[in-house]
């Protein structure tokens, strides 16, 4: 009877299109809002994901990666002395001012990495050689820096600009995940970063740590915390900690959660109502099928097939439209848009819930339907 169910569905074009529109809209809204939400969360964790260190050591009272509470320089050696530590390197991070030749200023996030190992460097180098950071007065910049400081004609490998009145030369253009504050990243060596930034008593932002083989990042973080009294987190732990802080302090979670919930409700309402109408208007036909010998179970399977079919089509179109939106509106990383498979899986489950729940209303109606209705003219 699958064939009959599908012909009933596609034959009633107006209701089919209305159902499809409702489920497509619902999918698109949930995927689009979910992707922007996850994009924002990714941006909030970019300070961690760009550096990609197994363990981060910092002040024990820190809430999130952008909240820098400098440590004493001795922290690096203290951490190195903890059993299970393979390596430990310093990292500087701070917001500075870059000045262009035309006199314009731009805020940049300056990241100072260990010159010998270059741990903390971005993985993708788009142009130039990041190893040349070891040369005097050099920096690597991300694409956003290029854009903000005047575009590729002005900012390229070999060009120069000033950070806090220190002239620096670009040796590499790198790819880095944007930050929540949308400030461009500039990479240099740790010592050079200390030199070109204003004087402070403490400048060590983080100690990046690698565990010895066989030791997990989480276990090592716990050990460092216990033995040094410093705050230590694995990359994942620090990422979640940062995300939780953002969710708690910005209201982003409530805003996006409300929109996603509304998308679910709208999809549910449209699908449920249209499906119910579809069933009610075909009640005589369903009654005839029951009289002829179709069981309630068979009619329920027909309704579910109709529901899941239109749901799957709506899911495909909805995702297509949301992706198209992400590709156009989010082009060049202007909009945080991260469409991930867990999100798509979650939306799929949500949509199947919408389809199941809206089918239940119709199935209940059919279960109560007496086939004698067909003898009443």
């Amino acid at each position: 009877m699958s064939f009959v169910a599908l012909k009933m569905l596609f034959g009633d074009r107006a209701k089919y299109l209305m159902l499809l529109a409702g489920l497509t809209f619902s999918t698109m809204l949930i995927v689009q809002q979910g992707s922007i939400f996850w994009g924002l969360m990714t941006w909030s964790m970019s300070g961690i994901s760009n550096v990609n260190a197994p363990v981060w050591v910092t002040d024990p009272n820190i809430n999130q990666v952008e909240e820098i509470k400098p440590l004493a320089d001795t922290a690096v050696t203290r951490v190195r002395s903890v059993p299970g530590v393979e390596w430990a390197v310093p990292l500087y991070k701070g917001v500075q001012r870059a000045r262009l030749r035309d006199g314009n200023f731009e805020q940049i996030a300056l990241v100072g990495i260990d010159p010998s190992t270059l741990i903390g460097r971005p993985y993708t180098v788009l142009d130039g050689r990041i190893e040349e950071l070891r040369a005097p007065e050099t920096v690597a910049v991300d694409e956003l820096t290029v854009e903000r400081l005047g575009g590729p004609n002005k900012i390229h490998v070999g060009s120069t600009f000033e950070i806090n009145d220190h002239r620096v030369r670009i040796v590499a253009i790198v790819q880095a995940q944007k930050s929540f504050q949308n400030i461009p990243f500039v990479y240099t060596t740790y010592e050079r970063a200390l030199r070109i930034t204003p004087q402070e008593r403490r400048k060590l932002s983080y100690v990046l740590v690698g565990p010895q083989p066989g030791i997990s990042a989480e276990a090592l973080a716990g050990r460092i915390q216990k033995e040094t009294g410093l705050g230590a987190y694995s990359g994942d732990q620090f990422g979640w900690k940062t995300m939780q802080w953002v969710l708690k302090n910005t209201g982003i979670g409530v805003n996006f959660g409300t929109t996603v919930f509304l998308g679910f409700i709208v999809g549910m309402a449209i699908a449920g109502q249209t499906f119910y109408l579809f069933t009610v208007e075909n009640l005589q036909q369903f009654g005839a099928l029951k009289a002829i010998g179709a069981s309630t179970g068979m009619l329920a399977r027909m309704i579910l097939l109709q529901s899941f079919t239109v749901g799957l089509i709506g899911y495909g179109i909805g995702i297509g439209l949301a992706t198209l939106f992400g590709l156009t509106a989010g082009r060049g990383g202007v909009l945080p848009f991260k469409e991930t498979w867990p999100l798509l899986l979650g939306v799929f489950v949500a949509l199947m819930m919408i389809c199941s729940l809206s089918s239940v209303i119709s199935i209940r109606k059919l279960a109560k339907l007496e086939p004698a209705v067909v003898f009443r003219g």
Binding site: V4, K7, G11, L289, A291, I292, G293, S295
Partner: protein, 250 residues
């Protein structure tokens, strides 16, 4: 004693071989308490194999309710009901559904064709319900449609067919599963005289086949001549049974 039991069994087997439907003392009421309305008040009715039986009577006389009870769609409050030798009163709802699927055919006054299915797809529905593969079901349905003169309209949707054509598709649908008992509710009510005659002629031809029977509920006196017997119902009881050849009027 043994001879007596043997005689009863033989009588019963004789009954089964002769009667397709045996109903005794069927009662059916709707509502509860003060609002209870008795619709069938003890109906006795037998339908023989190869018989075309017309159930006639004024509105509210209980014809359609009796048809629904015989179909196993409504449950009789009291009485005995044997269809094809089966006591369907003892069946569960799902067993009744299966029984209808496998042994009964229906023709409704309003046809109840699925509007988005073609004539041949509509006729194939009972076979699809039985789980027959689509290709086989369609081939058989087309064959039945040709037998009722609808060979030229196989791919037509119901809204492209006249009332008579739609009823013939409905008959083809009822016949596709090769039912032993065909139950028809006002099959000519929406048809003109000529088309109605043609439709009833087809129903009669089906009823006259061996091991088959047709029960037709009707108000239409123009088709009385087609019945082997005409059962008059009034106020929930069988009022009169006449031979079809007597040509009773309304």
């Amino acid at each position: 004693m043994v001879n007596g039991v043997k005689a009863t069994v033989q009588e019963f087997e004789h009954d089964l071989s002769r009667w397709l439907v045996r109903a005794k003392g069927i009662t059916k009421s709707f509502g509860e308490g003060h609002t209870k309305i008795p619709v069938l008040k003890g109906v006795d009715l037998d339908v023989a194999r190869g018989e075309v039986l017309l159930l006639v009577g004024p509105s509210g006389s209980g014809k359609t309710t009796l048809l629904s009870v015989i179909a196993g769609i409504l449950e009789a409050d009291e009485g005995e009901l044997m269809i094809l030798g089966e006591n369907i009163k003892a069946f569960s709802q799902s067993a009744k559904t299966l029984f209808r699927r496998d042994h009964l055919g229906f023709v409704f006054q309003q046809y109840h064709l699925l509007p988005t299915l073609t004539a041949s797809e509509n006729a194939a529905v009972p076979l699809l319900i039985r789980g027959m593969p689509k290709r086989d079901a369609m081939a058989h349905a087309e064959e039945v449609l040709r037998s009722v003169g609808m060979g030229e309209r196989l791919a037509s949707l119901p809204n492209r067919l006249s009332g008579g054509e739609q009823q013939r598709v409905a008959i083809a649908r009822a016949l596709a599963g090769d039912p032993q008992l065909l139950l028809c509710d006002e099959p000519t009510a929406s048809l003109d005289a000529e088309t109605g005659h043609r439709v009833v002629e087809q129903l009669r031809a089906i009823g006259k086949r061996p091991d088959r029977a047709v029960i037709i509920v009707t108000h239409d006196s123009r088709i009385f001549e087609f019945g082997d017997r005409i059962v008059h119902m009034d106020d929930g009881l069988v009022h009169q049974i006449q031979d079809g050849s007597e040509q009773v009027s309304g």
